[in-house]
Structures are given as C-alpha cells and as structure tokens.
Symmetry: C2
Subunit: 355 residues, 2 copies
Amino acid sequence: MAARRTSTKEPNAAGSPVSMADLARELGVSMTTISRALSDHHSIGPATKQAVLRLAKKLNYQPNHLAAALRKGKSKLLGVIVPYIEGRFFASVVHGIETAASKAGFSVIICQSGEDVAHERKNIETLLSAQVAGILVSVSLTTQDFRHFEKVRKHGVPLVFFDRLVEGDNVNAVVLNDREGGYLATRHLLEQGCRRVAHFAGMQHLNIYKNRRQGYLDALQSYDIAPDESLIMDCNMSLESGANCMAALLDLPNPPDAVFSAGDSAVLGALQLLKSRGIRVPQDIALAGFSNEALTQVAEPMLTSVDQRCEEMGQAAFRLFTELVAAEGTAFSQRQVVLQPQLFVRASSLRQDTV
Amino acid sequence: MAARRTSTKEPNAAGSPVSMADLARELGVSMTTISRALSDHHSIGPATKQAVLRLAKKLNYQPNHLAAALRKGKSKLLGVIVPYIEGRFFASVVHGIETAASKAGFSVIICQSGEDVAHERKNIETLLSAQVAGILVSVSLTTQDFRHFEKVRKHGVPLVFFDRLVEGDNVNAVVLNDREGGYLATRHLLEQGCRRVAHFAGMQHLNIYKNRRQGYLDALQSYDIAPDESLIMDCNMSLESGANCMAALLDLPNPPDAVFSAGDSAVLGALQLLKSRGIRVPQDIALAGFSNEALTQVAEPMLTSVDQRCEEMGQAAFRLFTELVAAEGTAFSQRQVVLQPQLFVRASSLRQDTV
DNA sequence: ATAATTTACACAAACGATTGTGAAATATTA
DNA sequence: TAATATTTCACAATCGTTTGTGTAAATTAT
C-alpha cells in the first residue's frame, strides 16, 4: 500500500542526505511529528516516536544543525580566541574548554589571533557571522582598543575572558590569582633564607605580569624588605632574555641570592647561564619560575614554579559561559572567577629540607 | 520622502541584529540586490553597490553564515579531530591547519577523541551535523573499526587523514616518512661508531611506530648488522617506560652502545637513568629520539631527535582538503602526501665532531 | 529608426528545521 | 449519555540567504 501523501513534495534523490522531509514521507506523517518525535516532545505518542527513531536510524538520518540553529536563532557553536594554540598553557586551556563544551553538546571553533589585534577583530567578525552562542577570549598582547568586544555585547552574545583581560572590570572573566602566585613563590624563596630576591618582570601593561610583580612586592613587604629597583628586571620572558637579565644581575655590586621569574623559559635561561659560570643552584642562587611548564621537570636541577591551573581555567570559562546564557535577561551581574595558583617546590629553590 | 515599500514586511526591532532585509528596506531595493551587491555580482550597478556597502558598514551589518550555508548546502566550517590537543605535536599541526584555513576563509571546529573510538564516532556525527565542508582527522589509538569514516564518504564530505592512518590505502592522507626518519636517526648512530644500537619501539599496530622500527631495521641492514631481537624493546613511550627499558638493556650480558627511541619522552627517561648510574652520554651510550619536542633542548646533554614537521603537516592537510573540493566530481584519485623528516643532531649522540 | 544586447533590478522559491495554533480522535468525568 | 479533558498530530509561517527566471530601461548595432 502506498504511503499516504502529506504536505511534503517529491521523493528524495539517491545521493542527497536524508532530511526530516524524507522521514515524514516514508512514514506518512508530517514533519512536525518527525521533529517533535526526535526532540522527545510530549505531544507525540510513544508508538510514533519509536517508529520515527527506528526509521531515522535505518536511513542514517543526520540532523542539520545549521537549519535548526537558523530557526532557533542560537547555535551550538562556541567561539574561542587565543593568541596561539601552541605551548602548554593555551593548549591546556583549550583542552579544558573543549572537554567541558562537548560534554554539554557544544562544538568549539578555535581562532588564533597571533597576538595581533587586527586578527582578533577579524576573528570576532567571523565568529559572530557563524552565529556562535558565545565567545571565550584571551586578548592579544597588542590589544589596546576594545571596541570589537563592545560589538559582541551589542549582538547579545555572551563574552568571557580568560587569563588575559581587557581593562575595566565590567566584564566576565576567569583568571588566575597571579598576585597570590607571585607572593607564594617569593615568600617561599624568603623562607629558604634568601634576602636579596630579584624579579624578572614581564610587560607591565598585561594584567598577569603586573599582578605577579605586585605579589613579589607583597612578599618582600611581609618580610619588611624594601624593594630594590635594581633587582627588578624588564624581561620578555624568552630564554635569551632570562640569560641576559641574569648576567646583568651578576654584574651588580651586590648580586641577588634568588630570582623569581614571571615565566619559566626565562628562568631556564638564567639557570643555564649560572651553570656555565659555575654558580651553584640553589646554594648560591635559588630560582623560581611561573607557569609550571614541562621543562621545569626536565631541567637540572628541576625548577620550582607556580602552576596556572590551565585545565581548570578552561572548565571554569565554559561554566561561566553557561551561567551567562542561563541568566539571560536577568539583571546582568558581571562575574569574575579567580583560580588559586599552586606552588610546586622543586630542587632549584630548596636550600633546606623544610617548609 | 518615504522609502518605497518592496517585498519586505516590517521594520526591524531595535535589539535584533540587522539582516539583509533591513538593508533592503532602508534602501528601497530588493533583497536580491543587496545579496548580489555584497557578493559583487556583475548584474548590480556600481552606484548601487556603493550605496549598499556604505549602508552595511553604517548599520554594522553582519552576514549570517548559517543561513548562507544552509541555502548553498556548503558551509565554511572545517572539522578537525585529534586524539588530544595538548602536547607539541597535535597543537602544532592544529596551528598549521588553523592558520591555512582562516587564510582561506574557513573556520575550524576542533574535536578531541581522547584516544577513544566512541568519542571519535560521536565527533564525526557532530561534525556532519554541523555541515562541515570537510574533516581532517588523526585516528585514535583504539580505532580498529572504520565504518564511521565510511559514513563521511557517503555524505560526500572530503576526508583527510594526517599522521595516523586507517588501514587500506584508498584514503587521502598526509604523513611523515617515519621510515626514513627511523633510518636517518639509526644511520647517524651507526656513523658515530655505534655497533649495538637498541630500539625503543612503540605500539606496532600504529603505522607511525611500525615505520620507525622498519627504518631502524633498514639502517642496520645497510651496515650489514643483523638485528638483535633482545635490543628491540616494547615501550609505551612514557618517561618511566623509557627508564625501565634502559634498565633492562643494561642488564643484558652484552648491553647496547646506543639507543634510538621512537619517542622523545622515553629517551629522556633513559637519559635520566643512565645519569643516575654514572653512565656517560654519549661516550658510553649514545641516544636519539623522535619528535623533536621542546624537552630535547632542555635536557643535558641535549637530545638528538627527528623532527616531524608538525606545522607543514597541518598546512599540507588543509591544502589536500582544498584540492579535494576543487576536484569534486572528477575522477576520484586518492592522494597521499609524504613529508620528509629532518634529523636534528645534538650532543646526546655526538661522539665525534664530524659529518 | 528598429532590432538586438546589455545593464539593473525585482519576484519568489528554495535550504532544513522549529513551533504556535488548531482540530480531530480518544479517554475521562459528571 | 453528554460534557470536558487529554492525547496525537497536521498546517503554515518563519529564520536569513541565495539564485533561476523575468522584465523594464538604457545602450549599441544594423
């Protein structure tokens, strides 16, 4: 017996993917029924649901998210913008985001700004055009102008910053307590008996480096040590830069007995320079870094470092996003999630086996 | 003077994003004109084009890619599936892919299989539902059943494998010449005067490890050295595993004078064990690894390793994808792109300053 | 001056799913 | 038994673009 013709038109050609219309025709029901059966709507009888599900499986039906998103006005896509995907930190954060997102049925579109505002702007446009449900971003180093983020807000798309922020605090963000991290590392060095602790400071227009430096100062103050400007070095956190800074410090009339670097590569550079000059670590100079990169456990001695909780940061960023969509319409309260850093003490700073 | 009403209905509410219909109403032209003006169609006069462009800019018009993709049947989304995003290799490949893709106007959706076939299957479904224009994948370790990839082909979606392949060679893929890499590293060790070269071999059901081992055997043969099975160790490539394998080798009545490991972490484990036992590297035992991870340059001595051309691999994978869409419909010739590995010789294997 | 082009634009039907509204059929209650 | 509630489903509009077809007007060729 021929299936009763309903509102759908023509039979499906062989090659094209099967759509709800195909299912409807095959079963002699309307597309409404198909759609509601697939989304488990209450107004569809259990028998019909079974039949639809079975046929869908049989014909290998793949829902078209695009069409659904278009109709509903909201997609299951999540935009993520990072300066670059390589390197432990951002890769791990993205890992955390993707894992959490996919568990919640979201797909993540990854964009790299390459530390370039122009790219960042284009990334935003692309993501908005893709009708993403939200955007998670860690701003590029060169970002001084924030209008492109304003545009995101205008489009009503939830925006969450992680790690690197834009100025102003009326934003949603998840960050590490970098200040606490700087404090922990520096205090640890002081506890080891060091009294002239130097600091490799990163670019101060970035919140993270500014805060790490502030934590360093906090620790000195808690020990009633007046900061010595000559011990605070401008450093771009590269290996070479670290070696150079270390060399400069050694030339001081009164060299330091410890270094807290705002990054791990730089402290490795310092370590290599010290070893080449026969200066013992940690006996003569103790070292501590920031980021807890893999290299900290390969260097000899292993490097003390502050862990940034990369993966938790990713998870937290996604969770904050979901909270934003849930709070849609309600009073817009900006939220900041602050993660606590963790100090990993290793040989490079252990002068005495104690706390 | 009131704008002439065309086919469009109601004025746009304040909050909602501006669409082509809004532009059309504002300018008193049809949506056709807007669409064609924006895509620089020849049938639109220069004056009209100008006006449309200007208004679009002014009203901050954002094209809706979803709608366009739905209509055209093809999106500007590219799906990428990797076992995990962390770690140098995949992060770099993804970097290469994303850079190339975004240059060509594609956005990449990143998925992690977590080395789990079930996840991999779900990833495929998700990507197909998202109507991606193509899928780039490096299969998980646990993938033995390949039907989900067959489904991709059925949907007419271009599929490109990179690094890790499925069996059978009627697939599009870009891989490293792992065999050549294994050969280069081993030959180098032999050239350094080593005669009992051991090998840390990875899981042999993976093409990459199988080929590296084969390259190792090739090199031995080219030196007329019969392979000694007791020198070929099963190794899961972890740090610990590397140390264990090294320890086992040292217990041999006739220990090796060199090790070529199919992975870098394992060779680092070996190095650490050797140092702890006071065995000199490379004088007593020379070492070479595979992947050229960052740690190779942090270890002491620095580790000789084979570079995998991660970024080129990403670029090549994307290029292969574009070639596939270009060749749409024409005779389907599967293509394999093979990248040449590069050996980086460092202190861990340099017994004599030569070659 | 008339015919043949070219230019410039509008109409309307798709793409594939969702959903408010309404209407049968069936079950429940008075 | 009649009235009311519940279950089950179809109609048709809609999301924002794209595009084949149609048709005036302007330009060029004959």
